[in-house]
């Protein structure tokens, strides 16, 4: 029996949610951090969406947020010209890294020892977190604001996407650009999948997949509306995308066919990411909410419960929240 997706809405932010990131799988489950224009990034339990804490300290919109694999550290990039590193267990601010302009993107290396930042001053910076007072290494080259910067290839290379409509692959040691991709439109998002070395890029209505080492194109898929973010499932069987029309699209990665589309958000979708176990994906929207969506609709996982028809009318069933049936217009 086919079931209808029930997204879980995580409220709490008061302005658009512009970025989100999952941690790896830890002994305490996995976690989710959301960046918001209200300046207060939040940490949530990844499989339930339950709020854990809010990182207080930024004095401007937070444009980027990330967690290290163990979810012990968080980093945020903000319009107050700083990137901050936080203890993700206590919520305390650990480090403030001053920049010369709005910071848009932050990314930890696998060992959490280095932090990569990028923003409106067009320069990539690498901070050694064991020596925070030391000057960061800088990589210049982009001619417009950097939107996203990611470590790749075992943290030996860096991928950056900027408003100059290029995506560049840099060598961390030589600081030279190894390869540059040029587009007709600004790249709206970028995701790097280490296992399989795949890069997911979105621009215009297109979701494109590249090999991360060579930046060779694997395939592209066009969506019905302008797409702001896309994410590939860890097993690489599906990908999800969302953008201007407020809907979330789910595609079969192999056949490129659209499988499903989901309404729910009340504003454009800015970011979407699969959880590390692939069981759900999270979307952040202009409407100020995060929503969690099941990959396998109807499966028992997190707060979703697979209920057989007999159980729904049984007096012994646990208290279940059944969303009211929506009437389709």
């Amino acid at each position: 029996m086919a079931m209808r997706q029930t997204p879980l809405t995580c409220s709490g932010h008061t302005r658009p949610v512009v970025d989100l990131a999952f941690s790896g799988i830890t002994p305490y489950g996995y976690f989710l951090i959301s960046a918001c224009k209200d300046g207060k990034p939040m940490l949530r339990q990844g499989d339930t969406g339950d709020w854990i804490g809010t990182f207080l300290g930024h004095k401007g919109a937070v444009w980027g947020a990330t967690l290290n694999n163990e979810a012990t550290k968080a980093a945020t990039a903000a319009a107050d010209f700083t990137a901050k590193v936080w203890d993700a267990v206590t919520g305390d601010e650990v480090l403030t890294l001053a920049h010369k302009h709005i910071v848009k993107s932050v990314n930890f290396t696998q060992d959490s020892n280095c932090l990569l930042t990028g923003g409106n001053d067009k320069v990539l910076r690498i901070y050694d977190l064991s020596k925070p007072e030391a000057e960061p290494q800088e990589i210049a080259g982009h001619t417009s604001a950097i939107k996203k910067a990611l470590w790749c290839n075992n943290d030996q290379q860096i991928l950056s996407a900027a408003d100059d409509k290029t995506v560049r692959l840099w060598d961390k040691n030589t600081k030279e650009a190894v390869k540059t991709l040029s587009f007709d439109a600004s790249v709206s998002s970028m995701e790097y999948i280490p296992d399989g070395e795949i890069l997911v890029i979105t621009y215009g209505r297109t979701i494109a997949f590249y090999k991360a080492h060579s930046l060779d194109l694997i395939k592209t898929v066009d969506a019905p509306a302008s797409i702001h973010s896309a994410s590939l499932h860890p097993e690489k069987d599906f990908f999800v995308a969302g953008g201007d029309d407020f809907k979330l699209y789910k595609y079969d990665y192999t056949t490129k066919e659209e499988m499903e589309s989901y309404k729910g958000h009340f504003g454009p979708i800015h970011c979407v990411r699969f959880s590390p176990d692939g069981e759900l994906y999270a979307s952040g929207s202009e409407d100020g909410t995060l929503r969690l969506w099941q990959t396998a609709v109807g499966k028992t996982y997190g707060l979703w419960k697979c209920v057989l028809p007999e159980e729904l009318s049984s007096e012994n069933s646990e208290v279940l929240y059944c969303p009211p049936a929506e009437i389709k217009a």
Partner: protein, 124 residues
């Protein structure tokens, strides 16, 4: 029409009274250094906390004393202005003042950004 998937409950939202990161959660207890410090560091921590509390109290009392008085604000870029101090906001980000004397004239009501203020002085 398809049946919607049932849900045990909705995700918990933020606590309006705290920033979270519950110190009694299993993860916090396992990953944070023990909250029972050795006796020597404890006494210096307590001393520091006591001094901080004292300084904070003095600061807050100064703000109270300043209310209604004519205060001189020394600000960045060699700006020096006089105004009647009204109040500060809870995070001490803005100061509400009246009759602010500026080179362009007297501003009846104004907000001064605290990050621009270097020092303020007034007659007790």
């Amino acid at each position: 029409m398809k049946t919607p998937v049932s849900v045990l409950r909705l995700p918990r939202g933020p606590d309006p009274n705290s920033r979270g990161f519950d110190p009694s959660s299993p993860r916090f207890l396992a990953l944070c250094p023990t909250s029972v410090p050795s006796s020597s560091s404890s006494s210096s921590d307590e001393e520091e906390q006591r001094l901080r509390a004292e300084l904070r109290e003095r600061f807050l009392r100064t703000l109270l004393l300043m209310t209604g008085k004519r205060v001189r604000f020394d600000m960045h870029e060699h700006v020096r202005v006089h105004a009647r101090f009204g109040a500060s906001d809870i995070d001490v980000l803005n100061l509400q003042v009246s009759d602010l004397e500026t080179p362009l004239g007297v501003q009846r009501e104004a907000l001064l950004r605290c990050q621009d203020v270097i020092a303020c002085s007034f007659e007790v």
